[in-house]
Symmetry: C2
Subunit: 206 residues, 2 copies
DNA sequence: GTCTATATGGTGATAGAC
DNA sequence: GTCTATCACCATATAGAC
């Protein structure tokens, strides 16, 4: 008999301040933990205290949200690591800066970074936005330049630039496998240890 | 009017020979390419020419199929790499064997391996079967032993065993990011290059 | 052992009121 | 800008016939 709604609206619905950013952050947390497919936008909406439809007001699709996370994370990485490297002089110092800055940024933006790594292409993801691919190439080229210049000025041995660059990125990115954000060890420490191992080498031969 | 089925069965339905294995192979291919969530069992069934229900006759759930792929792949890796290492003498030779055998096995069992890497735990997967975790630890301990013995007999510098082991596994596993199964370069070549770089070091200092 | 048919449930996405 | 309500879809998984 009672036709009135259970929860009559008393006024205007709450406005979501800084909506796009908050959605991206919540989504990154969710996708990072549960994966892109398992992370539901209903949960994102719920956590922000709005409806799912409200989320769709700001982004056209789930994929669009994911892409935005990746692009944003890559952009930040590029700037942060780029600046850090630029502030160092000499091949070894630059390489060390690259590695520790990368690790720092990874830890600081943990879930977004995890998001990026799991959908990173890697296993041949053709849907990846061109913009992201471009930024990734740009990022890798910073590292390649460090290695190439180090070889040119005699700081580094005459190794293959691609092999060396890839091995650095492998160690840094696979760190997600060992790193625990709540653990005692900072990502930067990992990076430093890798740096020393890689530059000095494992072998005791001279 | 015609009540007869379009495709009346002439006899017994086809028997799926070696059913479990064929399901695992087809599923590994699918999961590796599309991911666990996107890979549908309907497709597996279709490709094998049976119904989805038939697949469920052999496995209780989708997760069970996935787990079986991982376990099987890890078991094979453990045996293959273990034998290869055992056949080599000396720290450097053993490490080289470990790395090249790992790469070989990776290439030979490409899609299953990709399956394993994407759901590998890494990003804190609590659902991972205990059996898989155990095998992973066992596998890692082969490598740790190589490094530790190499340090003990003076072949290697006195590095941190965990750091060194992790850097080796990082390079090998993140290879999935650069390796193209249809490309000109074999996985073993990657591994060899990483081996040389890691043992000799990047720096030209003596 | 395999089939057809269906239960069940959750997802992304949309329409239209306010 | 946000809501409620709902659509359309497709997945896993199951029941029961043959």
């Amino acid at each position: 008999m009672n036709k009135s709604k259970l929860k009559p609206r008393m006024g205007r619905p709450p406005v979501l301040e800084n909506a796009r950013n908050r959605i991206l952050e919540e989504a990154a947390l969710l996708f990072g933990k549960d994966g892109f497919d398992n992370g539901s936008l209903s949960v994102v909406a719920e956590r922000l205290g709005v409806s799912k439809a409200a989320v769709y007001h700001y982004f056209g699709s789930k994929q669009e949200i994911y892409d935005a996370i990746i692009i944003r994370t890559l952009e930040g990485l590029l700037i942060f690591v780029g600046n850090s490297v630029a502030a160092s002089k000499g091949g070894e110092a630059k390489l060390k800066s690259f590695m520790t800055a990368h690790a720092s940024y990874f830890e600081e933006n943990y879930w977004s970074f995890v998001c990026m790594l799991i959908g990173y292409g890697g296993m041949a993801n053709p849907g990846l936005k061109f913009e992201a691919t471009q930024k990734r190439v740009e990022y890798e080229s910073i590292l390649r330049k460090i290695v190439a210049e180090g070889i040119a000025d005699g700081t580094f041995r005459n190794v293959d630039v691609t092999t060396a660059s890839h091995s650095v990125l492998s160690m840094l990115n696979w760190m997600v496998r060992w790193f625990n954000p709540n653990g005692p060890k900072r990502a930067e420490e990992f990076a430093l240890e890798y740096f020393e191992l890689l530059t000095l080498g494992l072998s005791s031969r001279q």
